[in-house]
Amino acid sequence: MANDILVFGELTEEGRLAPITFELLGAARRLSQPLGGRVLCAVLGAGLDGQSREAIAQGADVVLLADDPLLQEYQGDALVQVLERLVREKAPALILLGQTMVGRELGPRLAARLGTAVTMDAIDVAVQDGRIVVTRPCYGGNAHAKYSFNTSPAVVTLRAKSQEPIERDESRQGEVERVQASIDAGAVRTRVLGRVKQKAEGVRLEDARIVVAGGRGLGGPEGFQMLEELAELLGGAVGASRAACDLGWYPVSAQVGLTGKVVTPDLYIAVGISGASQHMAGISQVKNIVAINKDPEANIFKASRWAVVADWKEVVPLLIKKVREMKEAEARR
């Protein structure tokens, strides 16, 4: 129907709906009222089990379920075929995808196939005067732009953590529509030759609820060992500023910032980071920043909720000690 919202249900490697899907469903739920349509959720995978119920509990009205061995692993060429067909069939007004490695490829390709409009990495979607308006950061987070669309449907990818999922409700009712994937295998031109996992243990930087990051102020690679200890205690991940990565103190894969990763943890602890704009671009969505820096005029403090003016070499060991005591006390209780 012309007012429906189609959510692309992204799956984890284990075949479960990824957290981003719940966020998208939450956004779709809220938008479905002004738009006056239903929330459709496309769940496309292989050997799926119970994910339809999950999608409904998280806010889907209709689950479009395609179960096909060809959907076992991510293949843009396969998914875009199925999605294009579903969109042409269901004619939604809005298609939501996550700004993930999958959505970043699927969104533009789907839009191009449909000849329609797309905006990426949105942090807000709203309906104003009956029109869909999308807000997204640009210029490395220095500016925000609002977009409207000249064509329908509108394809939008949403940034992770920008939307709240709804309260999970097991009693929600919805329908499950099984659809045929009918993938034209000949049109799948790419082939995955292999996957390599690079960071097996610990929490991924992008997923981490808490990120402890270090910069040039650490003075050397040794400081990062302490940050790793703290991050492990807090169940978080370690990030680094470009200055620190440039100096070879920490792997580039952990670089946070304009040329590295954009992270959205609940808590970001910046240690010895001055707060160059390049770095701030990577944490512009973080609400709770703790900055530990010797220089009371460091730029990072301007964006921080809590500022500790002190030498990190004194602060971090104390933090480690006290957090450990806290955790031990909790464990005893």
């Binding site: 102020g217 440039d246 070879g248 220089d295 460091a298 730029n299």
Partner: protein, 749 residues
């Protein structure tokens, strides 16, 4: 057990250098006086028979051998000269009088040797001992073959002088042997080739045989009052003998031990021939191996780089590439890309290890060793040079020629250099290390784009943004706006002011350094100095680009600044960054920009001396000893060491000196573009230096360079001892500003 004489006092070293120079200067008048005395006193009796106990034709033989030996000697340097001419042309004979003066001071006077007290003393003893013996031998030949003047008191004085010279040389040689075999000094790391070792033993043998020969002669003639074959028979006198003290003792001992006349004659004769062979052999050797530094080193000092602007070292002002369009190669990649003088440098090095002992890169465990890379090039020049020469004659290429930059001399060696100038300042033979390393950087950067990632990022940043501080949140006018909010108006330079205050990228774009910039401006305003700033019109001086090997970028930046200066009518410049200061002072003239530059510490010292700034003791700093860290580009490259100290003294601060200070200062680690280029390995240079500051007992490190400030601040937080002791890092201007503000408050009160 090794005895290491550690005298760090500059005065002792300077005294020794002065003494050596005095001997050098006094030598000629001394000989002249001797001749005058000889003429006025008339002929005394005392003299010696020159070819005593030796066949008559030996005289002719000695002259013949000398002629041959001189030819052999000459062949050495000439064959090396052919190899140097593989290099490019370079003008090195301008200003001959100045060259002669340097030659006298540092060649004959050996002015730089006492920087290492033990080795310096050792070398001076050998040098002056040997030189007197050599002159004595020539004098003797003159006496024997032309005019007989070594008679009477003159002869006795002569004999005594030569014996003392021999003793001095022997002591020197023994010191050298001790240092080599017992002390095993680390500077000897590369200096143990067979010829280094053999040379010492040979010289010792020459000296000892000389003494024994003298002893036998004295024993057979003077001590016995025998008649010698002089003026048709002259009776000798035992009273003459003590005037040849060593010979006297040996001769006396021989006689007392009952040596027969025949034995003494035999010993004298055989040792005489041995002595002759060894001495002439030694002379021939002077054309080759380590000892050739007598000739080559002297020449190298004569041909040293002379700066038109008074730059202290060759590495102070790098040579420009004149024309990029026609340049066959940018920088030095292969042997032929070096100049003849650069190749000569390589040959001149005697591996004395002074450069290495003072090199911040080497001493923090990096690959670079100044004498090491010279030796690498020398080895390759010796191996490949003759083939290259032959190929050049035939107009052919040598297909397997290896590049020097990045191959013969390793990539890290080339990039480890912080251009601090310690090697050049220490080198007694004025070898020019830095230009060679920088020419190789030019080759790597401009021809191959082969450089550390951080260097690449810096150059890219300089090119795109005109400053090296990637990611800064400040602009060149932020500090001006901030001061304006405090009610301080910073004048913009419009040609009507006396000075342009050149703030520099770091002074404007780094939070910490902005404080220094503001302090300087407040002081200048307080003293009523007529000055203005360029604000947004400033750009990088070009020093980082040049020292990171991008000469093209340097010239673009420098030319742009020169044009701005000229358009605005700039005559005098105040710089707070010694690197900007150095570049504007010594390198802008190469591109037609002649400006008078003053470092802020110089100007502040002058303002204090004139009473235009009146500092007072800062009570909060009582009990906080202050040490002043000499920036390389002020102290070594520009001879500015006393002005910053005068400012500190005027504030009545308790000052202490670090072990390495003034022109012997140790780099903070940020020179040569290393403010932005990560060190390859080893301990961080700034940590080493910070530890040294801590060891001086200082609680405050006073600096005069924005990079040093950054480096010490980092070190103060990262070196555990510094954190424990609590080290504050402040620019001299910041201290003065506090002190003057203090006095201002006091006057109001």
């Amino acid at each position: 057990m090794a005895i290491e004489v550690k005298v760090r006092s500059l005065r002792v070293r300077q005294l020794l250098a002065a003494l050596s120079f005095f001997i050098a200067v006094a030598l000629i008048p001394l000989v002249a006086a001797l001749v005058v005395i000889a003429a006025s006193q008339g002929m005394g009796e005392a003299t010696r028979q020159v070819f005593f106990n030796i066949v008559k034709w030996a005289r002719i033989l000695v002259y013949a051998v000398t002629a041959v030996i001189l030819l052999v000697l000459a062949y050495g340097p000439l064959s090396r000269l052919r190899l140097w001419l593989l290099g490019k042309k370079e003008e090195r004979w301008d200003r001959p009088w100045e060259r002669a003066r340097f030659f006298l001071l540092y060649g004959v006077g050996q002015g730089r040797l006492p920087n290492d007290l033990y080795a310096g003393l050792m070398h001076l003893l050998i040098f002056w001992g040997w030189t007197f013996l050599f002159i004595g031998t020539v004098m003797l030949a003159f006496h024997d073959d032309f005019v007989e003047y070594l008679e009477g008191h003159v002869y006795l004085g002569y004999s005594l002088a030569l014996d003392l010279a021999g003793v001095a040389a022997t002591v020197g040689i023994i010191m050298a042997l001790y240092r080599r075999y017992i002390w095993k000094h680390p500077k000897m790391r590369l200096g143990s080739l067979w010829d280094d070792v053999a040379l010492l033993w040979l010289m010792l043998a020459i000296l000892l045989t000389g003494f024994v020969i003298e002893g036998m002669r004295v024993g057979m003639t003077e001590l016995q009052g025998a008649t010698i074959d002089v003026h048709g028979g002259l009776a000798t006198d035992p009273d003459w003998a003590p005037w040849s003290p060593v010979g006297f003792l040996i001769g006396k001992a021989a006689l007392e031990s009952g040596a027969s006349q025949g034995f003494m004659e035999m010993l004298h004769k055989s040792l005489w021939w041995l002595h002759l062979a060894m001495a002439t052999g030694w002379v021939a050797w002077v054309g080759y191996g380590k000892i050739s530094h007598i000739l080559l080193g002297s020449a190298n000092i004569f041909f040293r780089k002379l700066s038109p602007t008074g730059a202290a070292l060759a590495g102070t002002a790098l040579a420009p590439i004149a024309d990029f369009e026609t340049a066959e190669r940018f920088g030095a990649g292969y042997l032929r890309d070096f100049t003849w003088k650069q190749l000569m440098d390589v040959d001149v090095c005697v591996r004395c290890g002074r450069c290495e002992a003072h090199c911040p890169a080497y001493n923090t465990g990096k690959e670079l060793t100044p004498m090491g890379f010279l030796q690498d090039i020398k080895r390759y020049l010796t191996e490949m040079g003759p083939r290259l020469l032959a190929a050049r004659r035939k107009g052919e290429e040598v297909p397997d020629e290896r590049p020097v930059a990045g191959d013969v001399v390793s990539f890290n060696t080339i990039w480890d250099c912080v251009t601090c100038g310690a090697c050049e300042y220490q080198c007694p033979l004025f070898i020019e290390h830095i230009p060679k390393l920088m020419d190789m950087r030019r080759y790597l950067v401009m021809e191959q784009a082969n450089m550390p990632e951080t260097a690449q990022a810096t150059l890219m940043q300089l090119e795109q943004r005109g400053h090296p501080w990637r990611g800064t949140q400040l602009t060149r006018t932020t500090w001006i706006e901030e001061l304006a909010r405090e009610g301080v108006q910073v004048p913009m330079f419009d040609g009507s002011q006396e000075y342009l205050y050149w703030v520099g990228c770091t002074g404007a774009l780094q939070e910490r350094n902005v404080k220094v910039t503001k302090a300087i401006v407040r002081l200048l305003l307080q003293a009523g100095v007529s000055f203005g700033v360029l604000g947004a019109e400033e750009t990088c001086s070009g020093d980082p680009a040049r020292r990171l090997g991008n000469e093209y970028l340097f010239q673009m930046q420098a030319q742009q600044n020169i044009e701005t200066f000229k358009a605005k009518g700039v005559k005098k410049v105040i710089a707070n960054c010694p690197h900007c200061f150095n570049t504007i002072r010594h390198e802008y003239p190469q591109l037609g920009g002649h400006f008078q530059v003053v470092h802020h510490t110089q100007l502040l010292a002058q303002l204090v001396a004139e009473g235009r700034l009146q500092p007072r003791t800062i009570e909060e700093l009582w009990g906080f000893p202050v040490t002043y860290h000499d920036p390389c580009y002020l102290a070594r490259h520009n001879d500015i060491v006393s002005e910053p100290r005068q400012v500190l003294q005027a504030m009545g601060l308790e000052t202490v000196e670090m072990e390495r200070h003034r022109k012997h200062t140790f780099c903070c680690g940020a020179g040569g573009g290393h403010m932005w280029v990560e060190e390859s390995k080893g301990r961080r240079i700034n940590h080493t230096r910070t530890a040294e500051a801590v060891a001086s007992g200082a609680r405050v490190v006073a600096v005069a360079c924005p990079f040093c400030l950054q480096m010490f601040e980092e070190g103060a937080g990262s070196v555990p001892e510094a954190a424990k002791q609590g080290i504050q890092v402040l620019d001299v201007a910041e201290l003065l500003e506090r002190s003057v503000a203090y006095s201002r408050a006091a006057t109001v009160r």
